[in-house]
């Protein structure tokens, strides 16, 4: 494994992740998912299918929900990225995380980071979504454990609590 082959095509790319400015030295076409997981050790985003179907690698990029397995890292230059690790502070969970805990929104947990970010994104766009709007908003994120009901209930509860707050 020669040094030059590893280095060929690598560039410096800078972006903000969870409020921190980061510069990575990576292949331009490397997937954002791999950069997050391997370079930055943010392993909350998961690879489920590698082709943008399951949503378990979802992160927020400039406020938009993206499948990080489909984003070449070059595209993240200058972007503001939020991963699951950036949602809770040391001791306080995000209202969506809290609701997932209380309403049984997480079972095996593998889709959970992506699902929670999809829910946060949905609630940012719509403060009081209906059950149908929640289902629609989460339909890009697959969950094999829950049958979605308790996830939808958690998101509805999070919306309610946010409006009350």
């Amino acid at each position: 494994m020669s040094e030059s082959r590893e280095e060929r095509g690598k560039v410096d790319i800078s972006f903000t992740v969870n409020g921190e400015r980061k510069t990575v030295h990576a292949q331009a076409m490397e997937r954002l998912l791999d950069v997050l997981r391997r370079h930055l050790e943010l392993t909350g985003a998961k690879e489920g299918c590698g082709e943008g179907e399951c949503g378990s690698c979802s992160v927020l990029m400039d406020g938009i929900l993206v499948n990080s397995c489909l984003v070449p890292v070059l595209q993240a230059q200058g972007a503001n990225i939020v991963t699951i690790e950036g949602l809770a502070t040391e001791e306080t969970l995000h209202v969506v995380q809290e609701a997932f805990l209380e309403y049984g929104g997480a079972q095996c947990g593998i889709c959970t980071p992506g699902m929670i970010l999809a829910a946060v994104h949905l609630l940012d766009k719509k403060r009081q979504p209906t059950r149908e709007e929640i289902s629609e908003g989460l339909s890009g994120n697959l969950c094999r454990c829950t049958g979605y009901s308790q996830i939808v209930e958690a998101v509805a509860e999070a919306a309610r609590r946010r409006t009350m707050a």
Binding site: S56, I84, A88
Partner: protein, 753 residues
């Protein structure tokens, strides 16, 4: 009056906080220094003799670690029930995707190209792909007759019933393969050190299955093999037996290289190469009286096991025992058979044979109803097993179950009768047809027959130095809530706050063999052992005069601390003992098949669109009796999740086969339900009380997989008046039938397609 404090409450999931914050560590999140990545070179043909292996040009092969079957230190097999499945094929391949060679390299990106560059020449052999081809014995691909296992269940005198019958009702029902489709793909990391032996960390259900397989593979004693479960992102049976193969592969590469090796499958490899639900074919021939009583019948239940025996024999026995459903059969003969085909071995998937045979039984009940001229409700009511009656294996029902009442309650909450009437009035007035269907069924909890006695599970409970308590089990958490519910049980037994109890990591170095995490056995069987081991801790403290019979949690904590400071490690063990009055004959499949059954009545309401031929499930009622519900939120989550998988099994998930290989091994073309595809799934529990399991609990995990498919297909028949006896049922299947049906032709806006 029950005075339980923790049992029956929805305490927070033990590992919930780590899951919602993304801190949980799954195997692909783990990195070891100087770790290599492994990949598998697989057969591209269904059956043949390996002639020559060539390492093609353009790859720096000297950078790779390469392992073949010659490098296996012990026996070249994946030890399970039998040992017919090789770890790596040496001369013959018996299915597409069969592992032949292993490669490892520090850079995971170079592996796919290297795998591609290995070319293997074969002398192809004729292959067989269906149950029918296997039965015809045109080619013998396994043993002497392509048959892995047969069972014969007999009760009464079937041959005499046909002449007494007013009706003889026949039907044939088939189910397709189904992919478990856990969202976390399979993965393992292995290390090897000459003095310490091997360690694997991975995504898995059954640490001791892997432990056993690695001992045989590497010819190592038990203490030189360590298996550790990482957080596991869904399993559903799909991580019951296959992880032994991946662990074996990672271990071989680790031994060869002297470095840690990680193998994580990508989605397509996971889908095409690993196990799926057994495809099945069930034939019913039933003698029925004119008042709708089943007089007797024959059931022929056959499953496709794929190329190696793996778990097919036990999937078969569970399927066969459930084949008669929750009905009383005075006379029955069930012939069950698992056959070989040149496909990757089919394996464990939630329900384990029962969803297949119960689909047939429950579709057949509707066929009997139509033949006799009774309603689907009435035909079931007249044939339900009653307290004191015997099942097809002569197991006498000793639970106070009243299936008629269970069904009545489901009819009531689903508004069945009113809907049925409304649908039949409205159905000819639009481009859609609505229907409503029922399934009533049972699911046996725990291992079948003498299985639990053979397993002889052991559970430990440890009083720790700080006064907290740890449960020591090899039972694994993969979403169901194992950690949470077993902690509840120990906390309840000891009178402690839930927060003071936790589970040790499922690590064979730390925990005893409490059996595999399968068969809806964890809460009922393992939970009961946890309860008794916990009481052992308490008893020791009491007999050491450190604790009074009546004590507070604080007093327990103080006593526990004191005990540990004086005596060191403080552990109590409990081993499974079969109840004395249990009889089971493995050969004849006769006797007490299960320590307890869960019972259920499910009702599905569907709309069939006559333009698209799509079926939408509009409402789903899942009503069950599972004994005591220990954690209402988790239990409801299990039922809803199982029903969702059942809806996928019925209407969405089709494995497309070509020459024994899955052609649609991606999430883009193998379709599971999304959040917009599912109806409200309304869950109801009836608690009739059961004395067997921990705090009266029975098994729950697999039950909800059994009912949706027949309920939905019964509803589709109710909507269209056309019976469908196979799943998955896709829009194109409905279009083909309706286009060919004169009665329905022209009914839809497309003029029947």
């Amino acid at each position: 009056m029950n005075s339980d404090r923790i049992i029956g409450t929805s305490v927070p999931r033990k590992e919930g906080r780590d899951k919602v914050t993304g801190r949980s560590q799954y195997v692909d999140d783990m990195v070891l220094p100087s770790m290599l990545f492994g990949a598998t070179v697989r057969s591209r043909i269904p059956r043949g003799r390996i002639k020559k292996i060539t390492f093609g040009p353009g790859i720096s092969w000297d950078e790779f670690v390469i392992v073949s079957s010659k490098d296996i230190p012990g026996k070249n097999c994946i030890a399970l029930i039998g040992d017919d499945q090789p770890c790596l094929a040496s001369e013959i391949v018996n299915h597409p995707e069969e592992p032949i060679l292993l490669l490892a390299h520090p850079n995971r990106h170079v592996l796919p190209k290297a795998v591609e560059a290995v070319s293997i020449e074969y002398d192809p052999l004729p292959a067989i792909f269906t149950i029918g081809e296997s039965e015809s014995r045109s080619e013998i691909i396994w043993g002497e007759d392509n048959v892995f296992k047969t069972y014969l269940i007999e009760k009464g005198e079937v041959d005499g019933v046909w002449e007494k019958a007013d009706y003889i009702v026949e039907g044939e029902y088939t189910t397709g393969a189904q992919e478990q489709l856990y969202i976390e793909n399979n993965g393992m990391i292995a290390t090897f050190q000459a003095d310490q032996g091997i360690t694997v960390w991975g995504s898995l259900q059954c640490p001791y299955y892997i432990h056993k397989a690695l001992m045989a593979l590497c010819n190592l004693p038990a203490e030189k093999v360590r298996v550790v479960q990482m957080e596991t992102g869904g399993a559903f049976g799909g991580k019951e037996e296959y992880p032994s193969t991946i662990a074996a592969h990672a271990v071989l590469l680790a031994i060869q290289s002297g470095k840690p090796v990680k193998i994580v499958y990508d989605r397509m490899e996971d889908m095409v190469a690993t196990t799926k639900r057994h495809p099945s074919r069930t034939r019913h021939r039933t003698a029925v009286s004119k008042d709708g009583k089943i007089l007797g019948g024959e059931i022929d239940f056959t499953i496709d096991g794929g190329a190696y025996a793996t778990l097919s024999s036990v999937v078969l026995s569970r399927g066969a025992i459930h084949a008669g459903g929750p009905y009383y059969w005075p006379n029955i003969r069930i012939r069950a058979k698992a056959v070989a085909t040149n496909a990757p071995p089919h394996g464990a998937f939630r329900g384990f044979g029962a969803p297949q045979s119960l689909f047939a039984m429950e579709r057949h009940m509707d066929r009997i109803a139509h033949t006799v001229g009774l309603s689907p409700v009435e035909i079931r009511r007249r044939n339900f097993l009653q307290f004191g009656e015997a099942t097809t294996t002569e197991q006498v029902i000793r639970e106070p179950i009243d299936l008629g009442k269970l069904l009545d309650r489901a009819l009531e909450v689903s508004d069945y009768h009113a809907k049925k009437k409304r649908f039949s009035n409205e159905n000819n007035k639009s481009g859609t047809r609505k229907g409503i269907g029922i399934a009533t069924f049972l699911h046996g909890a725990g291992f079948t027959g003498s299985g639990e006695r053979y397993l002889s599970s052991v559970v430990g409970v440890e009083g720790c130095a700080d006064g907290s308590v740890r449960v020591l089990v090899s039972s694994t958490e993969f979403g169901q809530g194992t950690k949470t519910v077993l902690s509840q049980i120990a906390a309840e037994a000891l009178g402690l706050p839930y927060e003071w109890v936790g589970l040790a990591q499922a690590d064979t170095l730390e925990v005893p063999n409490s059996g595999p995490t399968v068969a809806s056995r964890t809460v009922m069987v393992v939970g009961k052992l946890v309860q008794s081991a916990a009481l052992g801790i308490r008893q020791t403290l009491i007999s050491s005069n450190l604790l009074n019979e009546a004590h507070t949690a604080e007093e327990f904590r103080a006593a526990c601390r004191l005990y540990v400071s004086e005596h060191g490690q403080f552990r109590s063990w409990s081993r499974y003992e079969a109840p004395p009055d249990i009889f089971w004959d493995d050969q004849k499949c006769r006797g007490e098949a299960y320590a307890a059954f869960a019972w259920a009545a499910y009702i599905a309401e569907v709309t069939v669109d006559l333009t698209t031929y799509g079926v939408t499930v509009d409402d789903f009622v899942a009503l069950q009796e599972v004994g005591r519900v220990l954690h209402p939120l988790l239990a409801r989550g299990q039922i809803i999740g199982g029903v969702a998988q059942g809806i996928g099994f019925s209407l969405y998930e089709k494995v497309v086969w070509q020459n024994g290989r899955m052609q649609n091994g991606q999430m883009t073309n193998y379709i599971m339900p999304t959040s917009t595809d599912l109806p409200p799934i309304r869950v109801f529990f009836e608690e009739l009380g059961n004395v067997y399991g921990a705090y009266g609990a029975k098994g729950i995990g697999e039950l909800p997989m059994d009912g949706p498919a027949p309920a939905i297909l019964n509803a589709v028949e109710d909507a269209l008046g056309v019976p469908f006896d196979f799943i998955p049922l896709l829009p194109e299947d409905i279009m083909d039938r309706i286009a060919a049906s004169p009665a329905m032709n022209g009914a839809g806006s497309t003029g029947g397609g």
